[in-house]
Point group: C2
Chain length 354, copies 2
DNA sequence: ATACTCCACTTAACCGATTAAGCACGTAAT
DNA sequence: ATTACGTGCTTAATCGGTTAAGTGGAGTAT
């Protein structure tokens, strides 16, 4: 491999001059520049990354994949990562992936990446409401990008999405179909999304003159099974909902399962809206009405902003990315008799309980 | 950030000694080792990666994502990458992702990663039958892992899968259902898989005493649309097939589309087997019978072998990873009248043509 | 004519590790 | 007693860049 020294010799200049030419710093006469560039070309010289980043930044972003989780197999994450990688490439950065495992957990990896100087900034997935990781890292001066909603009290850049607007659109859609009793199945409350979703849900209900019923709000986990359990809970209510808004597609798939188990027809007996629009949502039966989250665009914005932060450029204020309501077959007009039917069913089963 | 110098001072030894302790090289008394390790702990010292890899290897694998393609959004690729990242982590390596874009194409990125010393080895996706990239890179001494079938004439490590065995299983399944006219829709012939699939297809047919019909073999592209086009071609045959083996799930989805357009019932009028078992295959309607490719395991093996190559360890010979035939609803018993029906349809339309 | 300022470079320190070579000391062999 | 060798360190060169400080010469102000 040729080094900067070889280039300098061939161009009959010092290595400093070569460096100045290549980095666009310093003052160089056109003739010298020409000679240097020719030498670079003939030797097919490429600066050594390690040597360079010993003095400067590493031009690399880091991403730690949590262990155990579905990881990249989760299409939602994969799309985000694709966006990150593309935006990084666009700015001549690379993206370094670290997978956590039992030996080296997330914290260790983050430490390793940051303190060894391998990365200039870090992307953190799924920030929590009161995320200790974030607080600690930021305190150590680590530049962060949070792949989730940003609360003003957390440092670091974020690529906000208009969750509130999306939820509002979904609710209006359901209300427009005649639904009054709309249940909300949320993500765990320690995720920042959870709070936002709940707020938008409540606000929209009230703005539409509908009375929120606390019984219709159930906090679930993140998995399909959690969605199932939550639905079963909702179905035992004396006055069950006629529509369900699930805070993620995964939860919605679980809801579907539970509804089918209960012998209900999705879209007719019960309307269902998911959130995310993962590829499966369009292909499952019935196709899921859901909020499309611009994951790729989010990854792109996130990486761009992180790089801007690294390079000390001012951050242009950003509009939250809009969500798009994709109406498919899992939502339909409320059946007035639907509620009666439910009531009757409830009555029928009372003897067994009593 | 503390440096090795700080550690040395605190432990009252030279930096060399610290290095020896940390790398397990050299001869060190227990007492000294103890003091050094304590100093490392109190300072929370972590070696600088750039400085280290200026003298040694970078302990990093590279992966270039082709531009334009679906990239990581392709679940098949995402699973492979997840496997790569995990196996890399397991050996204390990291994985660096470079996304190609119009400015910097795949070749440039590969060059940048390798010649700048950022990576010790490279994973190449979709090797072609006569891949110039591979030849050139190998000639430059770049260590390669090919995420695809390895032809003995290509250098680099691979994680072979038993495509032949899988295709054989699929064919036997179809033959067992009574199919005699089984079409094959292959991937572009410049992909190594293509050849292997064709061979296994032919061999199995002959071994079963069935006569291969060249008309039933059609080379397609990689997209769903290509699968559609190929199917339309097959359906115009005087003697159309009763079953189709598609070399990828994407192609199979295209086949489904074409069959539905032709008013046929998949699994009854025409059996269909895909290859890959992407998540969608299980959820599409009807669920696709397909060959499950162990993508994650393949990524793991690939990374492990590449790292072994980098570290100069001997490569234990590897059994090809088995594919698993997942029988779902897209395959069924041949309908004898099916062929008649097809003939009749053909006859009916003859007047229009004549 | 002298001083001052640019310009276009060069010199050399520096980044933070690894590692070959050297050195002092104790022990064993001749 | 002398040589030889192994042990446990230190010294210093080295990896390949960046960049602050220095330098000689041309151009301009006084």
């Amino acid at each position: 491999m040729p080094t900067i020294k070889d280039v300098a010799e061939l161009a009959k200049v010092s290595t400093a001059t070569v460096s100045y030419v290549l980095n666009g710093t310093g003052t160089i006469t056109p003739g010298t520049r020409q000679r240097v560039l020719e030498a670079v070309a003939t030797l097919d010289y490429r600066p050594n990354h390690a040597a360079r980043s010993l003095r400067t930044r590493s031009r690399t972003l880091g991403l730690v994949l949590p262990a155990g989780a579905t990881g990249l197999a989760d299409p939602a994450l994969a799309e985000l990562v694709a966006g990150l990688a593309e935006a990084a490439a666009e700015a001549n950065y690379f993206l370094i992936l670290a997978a956590a495992n039992p030996d080296r957990d997330e914290t260790t990896l983050v430490d390793e990446l940051v303190r060894s100087g391998r990365v200039d900034g870090l992307v953190l997935l799924d920030p929590l409401v009161d995320d200790q990781r974030v607080v600690k890292l930021a305190a150590h001066g680590v530049l962060l990008a949070l792949a989730g909603p940003l609360r003003s009290d957390l440092p670091g850049v974020a690529a906000p999405i208009d969750l509130a607007g999306g939820v509002q659109a979904a609710m209006r859609h359901l209300i427009g179909l005649g639904h009054h009793r709309i249940a909300l199945i949320t993500l765990p409350s320690d995720l920042v999304e959870s709070e936002q979703t709940f707020l938008a849900y409540s606000t929209t209900l009230e703005a539409s003159g509908l009375e929120p019923d606390p019984m219709l709000i159930v906090e679930a986990g993140v998995s399909q099974d959690d969605g199932m359990a939550a639905t079963q809970e909702l179905l035992t209510l004396p006055e069950p909902p006629t529509a369900i808004l699930a805070a993620s597609d995964a939860l919605a798939f679980g809801v579907m399962h539970a509804l089918r188990d209960a012998g209900m027809t999705i879209g007719a007996d019960m309307s269902l809206v998911g959130c995310g629009d993962v590829p499966l949502a369009a292909h499952i039966h019935p196709a899921l009405t859901t909020l499309r989250v611009p994951r790729h665009a989010r990854g792109v914005q996130l990486a761009r902003r992180l790089i801007a932060l690294i390079e000390g450029r001012a951050q242009p204020p950003l509009d939250p990315l809009p969500l798009q309501l994709i109406v498919r077959r899992s939502t339909g007009k409320v059946r007035n008799r639907g509620i009666e039917e439910q009531r009757n069913r409830g009555t029928e089963s009372t003897p067994e309980i009593a």
